[in-house]
């Protein structure tokens, strides 16, 4: 086996066999699943304190019927207001809701009063406002002698269906952009996370080798460049392994959760929204969304995603390796060197978020060609089906830049790993690039 192969093998195996890696890989999806369930539970959580609320409907507009909801119990009481207020405690009410009469049916403003020593919580407020509003609406329909059917016909639900003008355009449904944005955002975010996590992993490992002084022993048998490249490839393979395991494990866990708990544990929010939608619509929406997901050219998107992962990873991790070689012993001072690397990554994330809203903008075009942004921005656009020339240009520029940055980092690395106890600035790094062997 050649030396590069040996180094890659060691870098890869020493990481994937580590207990922390195995546990981290297996437990992370589980932790996310638990987090989703917990978050969903928290969002669904309502006040568990039951409240009895007396309603004094002076104008008798509510028709004497307001349905109880959850922990809220409504009872109508007769005035006068002052007596009710005085006896509220004895009557075992927690609050008194006073609704003054409307002066005019055409009046569209009404202030009701909530008397209580407890605080009016937002969820109670929303419930009460909604109840009063719909009851008064019914009252007004009656008072104005309107036809209910006609009223309902006034509200028209609009859906916008995009259709291609010529044969060249792609036929899209109203879900296309939403689904594409969701998939794109997810992909961009995964890229952002992986570039950071594994880039940092390369940097820490380079620093460790330097502090350990193993690097002196190593470079008496291999070229510094081989050592750096071997490490980057090895860690990259670790990253691909982990992402691949997650890609299998997460949907599997979701499926399991559905089987065991009998509900879709991953998105309770969606479900609560869906409750307000007609179930037939819901069914149609899901099947449409599924067909949208299926209609994305995965044979193109997935290989490109892997390609961008590799490109982005090679670019950033080689930069991280160069910085790691310059930092060495004293971590505190060297951290400032990582800032110029982290800024483009973070910037790319924000650009990515903007780009999924407007995937055809000039910002989208240029940032998916600029090599430091493209690995994060372009995967987010892939689901929108960007023009082929942009993809090709972007990939070519990225590959070229990756090769250039690996070369550049190798120049810095070979000097940096042998440099001890010296403070390093960017000027030094620039000098190292051009210094001879």
């Amino acid at each position: 086996m050649n030396k590069l192969g040996l180094i890659i093998r060691r870098e890869y195996l020493s990481r994937v066999t580590r207990r922390s890696f195995i546990l981290g890989t297996l437990l992370t999806p589980l932790a996310f699943a638990v987090l989703f369930v917990v978050v969903g539970f928290i969002f669904q959580y309502e006040s568990d304190k039951s409240q009895r609320i007396a309603i004094f409907d002076e104008g008798e507009m509510l028709g004497g019927a307001i349905k109880d909801e959850g922990n809220l119990y409504f009872r109508f009481e007769e005035g006068p207001l002052d007596t009710l207020k005085a006896n509220l405690g004895e009557m075992e009410y927690d609050a008194l809701l006073y609704i003054p009469p409307l002066k005019d049916v055409m009046d569209n403003r009404l202030t009701a009063y909530y008397y209580s020593d407890d605080q009016l919580t937002p969820d109670v407020e929303i419930t009460i406002r909604g109840r009063i509003s719909s009851a008064i609406r019914d009252y007004k329909i009656e008072a104005l002698a309107l036809e209910r059917d006609q009223l309902e016909a006034l509200d028209t639900r609009i859906s916008l269906e995009p259709e291609p003008l010529t044969d060249k355009g792609t036929d899209a449904t109203r879900f296309t952009s939403v689904i594409a944005a969701a998939i794109g955002g997810l992909m961009g975010f995964i890229m952002y996370m992986t570039v950071f996590i594994y880039g940092m992993m390369v940097m820490r490992s380079v620093m460790e080798e330097k502090t350990n002084r193993i690097v002196e022993v190593m470079i008496s048998s291999v070229r510094p460049f081989q050592l750096m490249l071997g490490k980057i490839i090895g860690v990259g393979a670790v990253g691909l392994t982990q992402v691949a395991i997650w890609a299998i494990l997460i949907p599997l866990l979701g499926l399991l959760a559905r089987l065991i708990f009998g509900f879709d544990a991953t998105n309770p929010m969606l479900e609560s929204q869906a409750a307000e939608v007609n179930p037939d619509d819901m069914q149609a929406m899901i099947s449409m969304a599924m067909s949208e997901i299926a209609s994305i050219n995965w044979w193109m998107v997935l290989p490109l995603f892997v390609l961008y992962f590799l490109g982005g990873f090679f670019m950033y991790s080689s930069l991280f390796a160069a910085v790691g070689s310059a930092i060495g012993d004293d971590t505190g001072e060297g951290q400032s060197l990582t800032i110029p690397i982290t800024i483009p990554v973070i910037l790319a994330l924000y650009i990515m978020i903007a780009v999924i809203q407007a995937p055809d903008s000039s910002l989208a075009t240029w940032s998916s060609i600029f090599p430091l942004f493209s690995p994060i921005v372009m995967p987010a656009r892939l689901a929108f089906g960007p023009p082929l020339w942009e993809v090709i240009t972007s990939v070519l520029v990225m590959i070229g830049s990756a090769i250039f940055l690996i070369w550049l980092s190798g120049r810095i690395y070979r000097v940096g790993i042998l440099m001890y106890g010296k403070k390093t600035g960017f000027k030094e790094l620039a000098k190292w690039i051009f210094s001879k062997d």
Binding site: M1, L6, I7, S14, V217, S220, S221, R223
Partner: protein
């Protein structure tokens, strides 16, 4: 002379200083060779050039008669001063990895590892992690890692630093063994007493310059002050001090400076004739330490004080 390594006019300049300045010397085959110099003299720079880690600006290096070009020569085993190991790796795996990186086939590397494990009686270390070993134990592993690919030339940079006397002797014995088998060994150190005890040839580097070179005994010979020390009992003949220049007179010993050893024979006859009994008579050769300090001071009048103190310790 049959040289395993020959340096010709090697120059290495960094941005603001000349680390190696026109250095030439030869390392005889199967010898123990001392590469000496104060800290920062350019020893490590020179070694890095020999091991092709860095490239010389000028000059040439011949290993076993062949000019060294670019890549790291497999015939060299280099144990750097700043040496470490991967802490989480197991001892056996680590040695195998380093051997394979030096081009040793796996099965042969396994054999070598077994050989050294048996030799040092450390078979139970095989599956221990490096981080579980003490510093001295790690040094042994370092040494094994350096010699596993059976190099013709071994370069050891401060090989005994951090070792206790027992392990120092263990490694020393192995070094002699390797020399017996024909391996040439370069020691780089600033610890003179070690060099004095081990090396046959030395080269002394200061501020990147080769300031002294040759067989250790010849060098001592050329630096001697013709001092002789005689331990006796009884009385010295009257007028002894007028005939022979006494450098130091002790209770029952005298140190004199004589033009040559033959003059000593005369002196002894005279002393014996005078009725004194001779217990010992020997020529005082300068210690390498003295030569080192003298040469370094000559070549560099502004040598810092702490260095003198260090070399003298």
């Amino acid at each position: 002379m049959d040289a395993i390594l020959r340096l010709e006019g090697v120059v290495k300049t960094y941005t603001n200083h000349r680390a190696v300045d026109n250095v030439s010397f030869e390392v005889p085959r199967a010898s123990l060779f001392g590469l000496l110099g104060p800290n920062g003299a350019g020893k490590t720079s020179l070694i890095r050039i020999i091991t092709a880690i860095t490239r010389a600006d000028a000059g040439a290096i011949y290993l076993d008669g062949k000019k060294l070009e670019g890549r790291f020569p497999q015939q060299i085993g280099y144990m750097p001063e700043e040496r470490g190991l991967y802490k989480r790796m197991k001892v056996g795996e680590h040695l195998l990895y380093l051997a394979q990186l030096r081009g040793v086939p796996k099965s042969e590397a396994q054999q070598q590892i077994q050989h050294w494990f048996d030799k040092f009686d450390i078979n139970d270390w095989r599956n221990k992690k490096i981080e579980e070993l003490s510093k001295g134990m790690q040094q042994k592993i370092q040494f094994i890692a350096t010699v596993m690919h059976r190099p013709q030339l071994l370069i050891l940079d401060e090989p005994f630093s951090g070792l206790d006397p027992i392990n120092t002797n263990l490694i020393k014995d192995e070094i002699y063994n390797l020399r017996q088998q024909g391996t040439s060994i370069i020691f780089s150190t600033h610890r003179m007493e070690q060099v004095e005890a081990i090396c046959e040839h030395i080269v002394l580097i200061n501020q990147g310059l080769n300031i002294l070179e040759g067989p250790l005994l010849d060098i001592k010979e050329s630096f001697k002050d013709n001092l002789f020390r005689m331990v006796y009992s009884g009385q010295l003949p009257v007028g002894f001090a007028q005939t022979y220049p006494v450098v130091q007179q002790e209770a029952n010993a005298v140190t004199v400076q004589l033009p040559d050893a033959r003059r000593g024979d005369e002196m002894l006859r005279e002393v014996i004739a005078g009725g004194a009994h001779i217990r010992s008579f020997q020529e005082i050769l300068p210690s390498l330490n003295d030569i080192f300090i003298r040469r370094v001071e000559e070549s560099n009048t502004t040598l810092p004080e702490e260095l003198k103190a260090q070399a003298g310790s």
